[in-house]
């Protein structure tokens, strides 16, 4: 039987929303306070959902130790307590939570083999969250 398992993680990081394609004035208008050149930070909450058949031997969809280990190394250690704008992934990409959500999804899709990653959900604050499940219209998510 197919079940879906979701694990929740937390990390803190800073960013500045600023697009090289916009004028200074346009950046200020579009991103508001998030365009502050010194940056600002968030406590992000990350939810990773994997899905698949429940293994009758273990009763599990996915070995949680493997998931924690992968997310710990590839996401939390890489992003935690960093300024996102300085990371390679965001050199030419505005580190909005939409783009961060998709970046984390692709990191998991590329490297995690123990189960099928179905969804990444990212809370930037308690008041807003973003979900990404892969997309045929990739261009809609990746803003340079």
């Amino acid at each position: 039987m197919k079940a879906h398992l979701t694990r929740r993680y937390r990390f803190s990081a800073s960013h500045r929303l600023h697009s090289a394609e916009m004028s200074e004035e346009e950046n200020r208008r579009v991103y508001g306070k998030c365009n502050n050149p010194y940056g600002h930070g968030h406590n992000y909450a990350l939810e990773v959902t994997v899905g698949g058949q429940v293994d009758p031997r273990t009763g599990m969809v996915c070995d949680l130790v493997e998931l924690d280990d992968f997310v710990g190394r590839q996401v939390l250690e890489r992003l935690g307590h960093e300024n996102l704008n300085y990371l390679d992934a965001f050199k030419h990409l505005v580190p909005t939570t939409e783009n961060l959500c998709a970046e984390i999804y692709h990191t998991l899709q590329r490297g995690f083999r123990a189960a099928v990653v179905e969804k990444v959900r990212l809370e930037e604050t308690m008041m807003n969250s973003f979900e990404y499940c892969g997309s045929e219209v990739e261009g809609a998510v990746i803003r340079e």
Partner: protein, 136 residues
């Protein structure tokens, strides 16, 4: 179509052990969860039903009825119990969060007449939950 979710909480103990595996394998796969004396969680259960809104009552289904079914079929059987020893489904099935969601679905599904069961979500902790949608 409107989706209605009811939340309930229960506390229970369990341990993970597959008798077909060696003690070493059990220990390696399940780690601390393999302690045969069990350990416990405060589970949060979310049951989502769906259906059209009844024009007369404005309900998808009567919440009191949903609560009564949840109490009778799930909480009376699982709250303050040792799942491996006291819940029949887990005599031969490891009570992981995934299997718990499936077992709760199978208990509720035949008893819910007024609306269609859509999802069973079981939180083992605030940071870990399993969803079951009745998929084979």
């Amino acid at each position: 179509m409107v989706y209605l979710t009811r939340r309930a909480e229960f506390s229970a103990s369990h341990y993970y052990h597959n008798p077909a595996l060696t003690p070493e394998e059990n220990q390696r796969i399940f780690g601390k969860c393999n302690n045969p004396h069990g350990h416990g969680h405060n589970y949060t259960l979310e049951v989502t039903v769906r259906g059209p809104v009844d024009a007369r009552s404005g309900f998808v289904m009567d919440l009191a009825e949903l609560k009564a079914v949840l109490n009778r079929e799930v909480l009376d059987a699982m709250d303050h119990r040792f799942l491996n020893k006291e819940v029949p489904e887990f005599r031969d099935c490891i009570p992981t969060t995934e299997n718990l969601a499936i077992a709760i679905w199978q208990r509720l599904q035949p008893k819910l007449k007024a609306a269609e069961l859509h999802r069973v979500r079981v939180y083992e902790t605030p940071d870990l939950f399993a969803d079951y949608y009745g998929e084979p």
